[in-house]
């Protein structure tokens, strides 16, 4: 096993440097510190789920720095984890890294070194980087890096990524190895027993004979296969190697067994034994308790009564706050939009282009932007909870509850993130080890009330639910309604998950193994960055998809139709208004004729026809054709409905209320027989429909990507749409009877 010689590296390829380490040891923080990039970090094991790379220059060397998801060992149980072994062995599609930086936590050094020693058995040169050096309780508990490095047989560097300390030393150590000026790895340590090492050396012959491109890594692969019975590496090698490999493997294992070394236990025992003895030499004290702050906070936040109460209070408070705080903010945005419309109206003569700007662009896109403050607030809370370390506690608290639905606390963070957006939520399920559990989590994640639903909820609730306060002003009725409708998907997800776990995904009960990190002060920079990123996502979405839909809907609502008479009348009307003549019979006549024309034009347009066509489908839910069109247009992305409704009501609205915004237009809209469209039952059925329907193409695409099959997005779409319709129907019927 000779390390791949760096001199082979041709000048046209940068050196690949990979960050590997246990979850939550600060790999992404270190990656950001070294690269100036903004990979997501958070105080929760399993934040990074996809590798990310950055191009850098260290002392004239071109470097490609790679940040990887965290792992506790190189005994992969899923193809995703197998990627780490393939990468180290150079058997993946991408070339092996030229250097691995093993990121360890100074607090749990013993556990971190377990993975490091496994990595050091690979052919790739290794630097052991002890991060979070600033968190060591005392200098007493600090190992001497040089001494530790000598015993380990690898360069040891200490860093505090969060404070940008130790970075230069790390870069220098890396450059020394890449330049080939560091001592070579001739002094490689043997961490396992001689029998295991010999067995690996023997199997190596077969592997290097049968597996292409594995010369350097043959012994590493053989060892990984040997120590992890029925693991991914064994399966991989069994496929490539001849029958003699499997036969030798089982012979070796049984002879090891008789000498008292059963696998995989012996690997752990021997490795930890070795690390233990090394640490005894370099550590003066072993301090084995969490930080004082963590102990104190946990005794409250994890208390069986108080802790649960706080948990509930936190999430109730989040939803109330979002409502309270954002109402004035949204009013502000609405006022600005009103001023823009006003400005355009006063500067341009009536015509199709003015209508496009005011009714299409401002009314559509703008109506949607009003909700940006809510979205930012939601992301603020989620980022805050994650970065302080509470999310892992919440997962611990709810694990029992989730186990009823056949899931575990591991599903909590993916589901909680789905309250912001199902796309990152579904990606976060990669940390769920059990495949069936992960599939079920993916399928119920879209039921969580994502931030794109929030605008619809806030619009409808703010317009039609009376503004009352409950419990002596502690809660508002609107806040409570928002909380309930946001919980609806979650509540239905429980039986749905249970059903899936009993039918399609039955079998192997879920498990839960999670490290609870120490509490850390959330970094405002990280939190703000998260908000800005998601706000930008949201706005750029509004800028493209929503903008395009607004125009499309405007066009469909304006054509075909002869608008000459209307525009002429509108010009006359505005002239009358301009001279202050608003009481004459002439003004009255024109206004009435205009309203008739507007309504007729909208009905006769493509949009009106489409609405007419689909109305029977949505009639049983209590909706008129305008809502039907809105819902139809929102299947690609649910937030589009706000833009559609904005445009529809602006186009078809009566002239004297064009500028009062969407809310009053909706309040004023009536059925043909004069009864208001939006009575509480219809509003509730619309809310329920949006809570449950799969109106998001991005989510379906991510489901396809994460499950590598079209079956599941199709399944998800069909089941959720049917569920939404039925639930909305029941809501309409029942609330019509009750209210």
């Amino acid at each position: 096993m000779s390390p791949s010689s760096p001199t082979e590296n041709s000048a046209d390829r940068p050196f690949r440097v990979a960050l590997i380490g246990n979850p939550n040891t600060g790999k992404s923080t270190l990656f950001n510190a070294l690269s100036g990039m903004r990979a997501r970090t958070g105080n929760y094991p399993g934040v990074t789920v996809e590798k990310r790379s950055a191009d850098l220059t260290w002392q004239n060397l071109r470097i490609e720095l790679i940040d990887l998801p965290g792992t506790y060992s190189l005994a992969p149980r899923s193809p995703d984890e197998m990627l780490a072994v393939h990468t180290l062995a150079g058997t993946a599609d991408v070339p092996a890294p030229d250097l691995v930086i093993c990121v360890c936590s100074s607090r749990a050094l013993e556990r971190s070194l377990y993975l490091s020693t496994q990595v050091m058995e690979s052919p790739v040169p290794t630097i052991v980087c002890i991060n979070m050096w600033d968190e060591l309780a005392s200098t007493e508990a600090a190992p001497d890096p040089a001494e530790l490095g000598r015993l380990l047989g690898a360069a040891v560097v200490t860093t505090s990524a969060r404070r940008l300390q130790g970075l230069d030393e790390l870069r220098a150590a890396a450059v020394r190895i890449l330049n080939g000026s560091a001592a070579t790895a001739s002094e490689r340590q043997a961490f396992l027993s001689p029998q295991l090492q010999e067995a690996a050396a023997e199997l190596r012959m077969i592997v290097s004979r049968d597996v292409p491109h594995a010369e350097d890594a043959a012994e590493f692969l053989a060892l990984r296969a040997l120590v992890d019975p029925e693991g991914q590496v064994e399966q991989y090698l069994s496929k490539l190697c001849g029958a003699d490999f499997r036969q030798r493997l089982s012979e070796i294992r049984s002879s090891l067994e008789t000498s008292g070394q059963s696998l995989p236990r012996s690997e752990a025992v021997q490795r930890y034994g070795w690390i233990n003895r090394v640490l005894q030499q370099v550590l003066r004290t072993t301090d084995d308790s969490p930080h004082r702050l963590t102990q104190t906070l946990d005794s409250v936040l994890l208390h069986r009564v108080v802790g649960l109460a706080i948990f509930l209070a936190i999430f109730l408070l989040i939803f109330s706050t979002i409502y309270w705080f954002s109402a004035p903010l949204s009013d502000g945005v609405e006022t600005i939009l009103g001023m823009i419309s006003e400005f355009i109206l006063s500067r341009m003569a009536p015509g199709s282009f003015r209508s496009l700007l005011v009714d299409g662009v401002v009314a559509g896109t703008g109506a949607f932007l009003v909700f940006l403050p809510q979205i930012c607030l939601l992301f603020f809370f989620i980022a805050l909870l994650e970065d302080c370390g509470y999310m892992a506690r919440a997962a611990w608290l709810v694990d029992r509850l989730m186990s009823i639905a056949g899931l575990s606390g591991r599903s909590f963070l993916p589901l909680m993130s789905s309250f912001a957006c199902a796309v990152p939520g579904i990606m976060a399920t990669r940390t769920i080890e059990n495949r069936r559990e992960r599939m079920v989590t993916i399928l119920i994640a879209p039921l969580m009330s994502c931030s794109a639903r929030l605008p619809v909820y806030v619009l409808l609730i703010g317009t039609f639910v009376p503004d009352q306060s409950l419990f002596a002003g502690l809660l508002s009725l609107r806040g409570l309604t928002l909380f309930l409708i946001s919980s609806l998907g979650l509540l239905l997800a429980i039986p749905f998950a249970l059903l899936l776990r009993r039918t399609i995904f039955r079998g192997d009960s879920s498990s839960f193994l999670l490290e609870l990190p120490d509490y850390r002060l959330p970094r405002m920079r990280v939190v703000i960055q998260r908000i800005v990123e998601s706000a930008w996502d949201f706005v750029s979405n509004a800028g493209t998809l929503i903008f395009a839909t607004s125009i499309l809907i405007w066009a469909a609502g304006s054509f075909p139709g002869d608008r000459v008479e209307r525009d002429q009348l509108l010009t006359e009307y505005e002239q009358l208004e301009a001279v202050g003549d608003t009481d004459s019979a002439e003004h009255e006549r024109i206004a009435q004729r205009l309203n008739e024309l507007n309504a007729d034009l909208l009905r006769g347009s493509l949009l009106g026809q489409a609405g007419e066509l689909t109305e029977p489908l949505f009639r049983p839910l209590g909706w008129d054709w305008k809502i039907s069109v809105g819902v139809l247009s929102s299947f690609p992305a649910r937030e589009v409905i706000i833009a559609t409704l904005g445009t529809i009501y602006s186009l078809g609205s009566d002239v004297d209320e064009t500028d009062d915004g969407l809310r009053s237009a909706m309040q004023a809209s009536v059925h043909a027989d004069g009864t208001p469209v939006f009575q509480l039952p219809a509003v509730l059925s619309l809310l329920v429909f949006f809570a449950l329907c799969a109106q998001c193409v991005s989510t379906l695409v991510v489901i396809k990507r994460e499950t590598s099959s079209w079956t599941w997005p199709v399944f998800s779409f069909t089941s959720m749409t049917v569920l939404a319709w039925v639930a909305a129907f029941l809501t309409y019927r029942i609330s019509s009877l009750l209210l």
Binding site: G260, R265, V269, D399, S511
Partner: protein, 104 residues
Amino acid sequence: MHLANLNPGTKAVITDVTASTAGSARLMELGFLPGSAVTVIRRAPFGGPLLCRIRNASIALRQADAGLICVQQESCCTHSDACSSVAQETMSSVVVPVAELAAH
């Protein structure tokens, strides 16, 4: 005695980890090994997961997984259930490479 039966706050030493499927392998990677000190910090309400302190990390694990781990309380040494007798065997039969270290 199993880890699952330990009272919160008591220190104990692991005597054996029942070999089962992938579950026990994961536990061992995290350091749940014969001879290691472990403390149950607290239990989640309604029979939920335990929170343990092992090798300077707080690990949450379910009662079912904790049932795979046999322990002996530090204070008393008169426990002689089936669990610990198996453990004696495993502990004595562990072969560890001391030679390499001494070579340094």
